[in-house]
């Protein structure tokens, strides 16, 4: 079959009942557009307007046959069906660190073994996964992955300990109240990051470096400005304009880009402080999490729109996962081949393989297995670090 005949044959294809399908879909599209068009004219609160849009689309969808399936899935969307009842193993090498104020901090090995580190509400891996920095109340501590305490430091209202550095010289950044502190990995030389404005309640992020002297720390102040700060030199490389207070800061693994995420702001900055990529959500959508994929430098985004959550790649828009329900977190495996998506309302973790052939697997009863509260995933670390 030559190209011309192939094209002709494809153009002649008609789906079954195509005209009615077109009309059904038009009813849905028209209703959604009418609801969207009503927004500027009516001074409705944003949430109410979103509800009107969603309701109009759902009502219209009810009259289409695929729409019936959509409504059914909305009603039943409480997680992935036939998920594993327990975490028997991780789908990729490495160890997970999770924490919640009620359940404490836990390390999960690749074979599913779980070890409680203690009553710590927040934690993070050291750069090579050999230690854990943890925080609770008025204390920051360095632990071994078996829970042995190496040192601890009393400071008021400690939050967000983050560890970085070379194998021989490391630093831990953390917030005490609204002050940004940096302490050496052995617990000595704890200092206030001198002279910087008060920090917003968001975890600071280290840029990877070969030596502690080259380390760069991103943090946000209470006006939403993000600083790239070199603690050893006491200098600021760049500072962004004021804006919404971010919920997450993250450097790419190669250190070339900084991700700044707020519910309605998604930006990637380069090392000169210029915006390299932006995709601020609009139309009622909000971003709940995003992360760089190791090695590729691409960003996976978790965006919630109404009752639906999409996980997609920034830039290409490639959809990696979609569900009705609200996901909270996306964490990439150390080899970059899997994503862990946390789904608190379904009490599930969903693992999505994004490299090669796509696969999905899910685990239920997360809270019960990890101290009785659904935890935040603090890191998936270091396949070769043990």
């Amino acid at each position: 079959m030559n190209d011309r005949r192939l094209r002709q044959a494809l153009e002649e294809v008609r789906g079954p009942d195509e005209d009615r399908a077109q009309q059904r879909t038009w009813l849905v599209v028209r209703s959604a557009y009418a609801a969207r068009d009503a927004l500027p004219r009516r001074p409705l609160p944003v949430r109410a307007a979103i509800a009107v849009t969603a309701l109009a689309a759902l009502v219209a969808a009810a009259f289409s046959s695929p729409g019936m399936a959509v409504l059914d899935s909305v009603r039943k969307a409480i997680g992935i069906a036939r998920a594993q009842p327990a975490l028997f193993s991780l789908p990729a090498p490495g160890r997970l660190l999770v924490a919640s104020p009620a359940g404490g901090a836990w390390v999960v090995d690749v074979d599913g073994a779980k070890r409680r580190l203690g009553d710590y509400g927040e934690a993070s891996w050291s750069p090579f996964g050999r230690f854990v920095a943890a925080a609770r109340g008025n204390e920051v501590a360095a632990l071994e992955p078996d829970g042995t305490v190496r040192w601890k430091l009393a400071r008021p209202r400690v939050r967000f300990p983050r560890w970085a550095g070379s194998p021989t010289d490391t630093r831990i950044a953390y917030l005490t109240g609204s002050r940004l502190h940096v302490v050496a990995g052995d617990g000595t030389r704890d200092v206030d990051a001198g002279g910087l404005p008060a920090a917003a309640p968001v975890a600071p992020a280290w840029r990877a470096a070969r030596s502690a002297r080259e380390l760069l720390l991103a943090y946000a102040d209470t006006r939403g400005r993000v600083y790239a700060y070199a603690p050893e030199r006491g200098s600021v490389l760049f500072r962004t304009k004021p804006g919404p207070i971010p919920t997450k800061l993250e450097w790419s693994r190669d250190g070339r880009f900084l991700l700044v995420l707020a519910p309605r702001v998604l930006r990637v900055y380069d090392l000169a402080g210029r915006i390299a990529t932006r995709d601020d959500p609009t139309d009622g959508s909000r971003d709940v999490d995003a992360t760089f994929l190791p090695d590729t430098g691409r960003v996976a985004v978790v965006r919630v729109h109404g009752s639906q959550t999409d996980v997609f790649l920034l830039g290409s828009g490639r959809l990696l996962f979609r569900t009705t329900g609200e996901l909270r977190q996306v964490v990439a495996s150390p080899n970059g081949r899997w994503l862990l998506l946390s789904w608190p309302t379904a009490d599930q973790w969903v693992f999505v393989r994004i490299a090669g052939r796509r696969r999905i697997t899910a685990v239920s009863n997360i809270a019960e297995q990890l101290g009785g509260a659904f935890p935040a995933v603090a890191g998936w670390c270091c396949a070769t670090g043990r």
Binding site: V13, P66, G317, R359
Partner: protein
């Protein structure tokens, strides 16, 4: 129905300004090809209807950000084809890992489908997608590479393998 570039820009501008007739004109011009492209990739009428519907709703949500200087078709087709590929993969994956989020419809093509469509169903969705983009929607391999965010060589190899396999399947059925 093929609209001129100028006409399409007017529709997009009208749609951004709140004109329902402009949205309907865009819809009538683009839905048939979007639906058929989805149908040829997923081989499931209800699935194709859902995908075309979702693509238009997504396009409406992002309408304010749309650059009017760019054609609307490729933007929509990118959404449609990527979702169709994801839909096909997800369907096969659910069977593989025994995760069934919804019942879904019967993936087996009915016997009364044209020979070409049945043969196309024997290809992987990625190959179906590039054949549909090349031979139904008439994009060049370079344009397909951009639409699917793939290297051009990958597009060419998928096209070549897909067409070879298609010829083989059609030969067996004759």
């Amino acid at each position: 129905m093929v609209a001129s570039v100028r006409q399409e820009r007017l529709w997009v501008r009208g749609a951004q300004a709140g004109s329902a007739p402009a949205v309907e004109a865009l819809y009538r011009a683009h839905w048939p090809r979007a639906y058929r492209a989805a149908y040829l990739v997923v081989h499931d009428a209800a699935g194709a209807e859902d995908i075309a519907q979702e693509a238009f709703l997504a396009a409406l949500r992002a309408l304010d950000r749309f650059d009017r200087r760019r054609p609307f078709g490729p933007w929509l087709h990118r959404i449609v084809v990527n979702r169709a590929i994801d839909w096909s993969r997800a369907r096969s994956l659910r069977a593989e890992v025994e995760i069934a989020e919804s019942a879904g419809s019967d993936p087996t093509p009915p016997a009364e489908l044209p020979t070409l469509v049945r043969a196309l169903g024997g290809l992987p969705p990625e190959q179906r997608a590039v054949i549909v983009l090349r031979h139904l929607l008439e994009y060049t391999p370079g344009e397909i590479a951009k639409l699917l965010d793939l290297p051009r060589g990958t597009v060419n190899s998928r096209l070549r393998r897909g067409l070879d396999q298609l010829a083989s399947l059609l030969g067996e059925e004759r």
